[in-house]
């Protein structure tokens, strides 16, 4: 199975990808968050600068990059979340 998801980039990841968002039409699902990150990394090799510092958000819930498996549906939001610095 695959899903069409909307990937949102924030902060440093906007500068590294040159994008604020993009549609990804064929993301395999279910998928581990680590594989999801690897897929983004393949599209945008400069995201490697965030390796070990980044987490993801899937449908607006944080997901650490690791073994956790997420199920994606068409239209889901996936966000790249560099280290937070609000306040």
């Amino acid at each position: 199975m695959t899903a069409q998801v909307l990937v949102l980039y924030f902060a440093q990841s906007v500068e590294l990808t040159g994008l604020k968002e993009e549609e990804l039409p064929d993301v395999p699902t279910p998928i581990s968050s680590r594989d999801l990150w690897t897929l983004l990394l393949r599209r945008h090799p400069r995201l490697a600068a965030l390796q070990h510092h980044v987490i993801l958000a899937v449908r607006q819930q944080y997901v650490a990059v690791g073994d956790q498996v997420v199920t994606l549906a068409d239209g889901d939001e996936v966000a790249v979340v560099p280290p937070l610095s609000g306040g």
Partner: protein, 146 residues
């Protein structure tokens, strides 16, 4: 006589109004309003002078994380009445406020602890980012808890 608790969150490019944040939590049943205001500090970083901060947020998610933050505060300090956070986005120059948080409570101890915890949680959990901008035109993304 007891009021419905209010949780008020606003992201805005306008200057913050402390009065507006305080008014959002005011309540005749409360004797205490505890407030924290975070401002952009004039700073030197490796010989460069910070002239301001540029903020951005994942806005919808920030709203839902704010709701979780309020639930967490109310679980820890059940006497907390109203909670309000205003956070600025975009350009915030040195000396201006980037965030204001106010909490009302019947007595002051709970509200003061709740604000301290709330600001820590905001920095740890809300999807908001800032970039420090220097007088050399350079900039660097910050990380909380560095």
């Amino acid at each position: 006589m007891s009021e419905e608790p209010r949780d008020v969150f606003k992201l805005s490019r306008d200057r913050l109004s402390v009065q507006e944040v305080v008014d959002a939590v005011s309540s005749a049943s409360c004797g205490a309003i505890s407030v924290f205001i975070g401002t952009t500090r004039e700073d030197q970083v490796e010989g460069r002078k910070v002239i301001g901060l540029e903020y951005e947020a994942y806005e919808l998610m920030a709203q839902s994380e704010f709701t979780k933050l309020c639930d967490d505060i109310r679980a820890r300090w059940p006497t907390v009445t109203h909670i309000c956070i205003h956070h600025r986005l975009g350009w915030v120059k040195v000396g201006e406020a980037s965030v204001a948080m106010a909490i009302s409570s019947p007595h002051r101890g709970d509200g003061q602890q709740a604000v301290q915890h709330g600001i820590s949680q905001l920095k740890a959990k809300l999807p908001i980012w800032k970039k420090e901008v220097y007088d050399t035109q350079e900039a660097s993304w910050k990380e909380n808890g560095e």
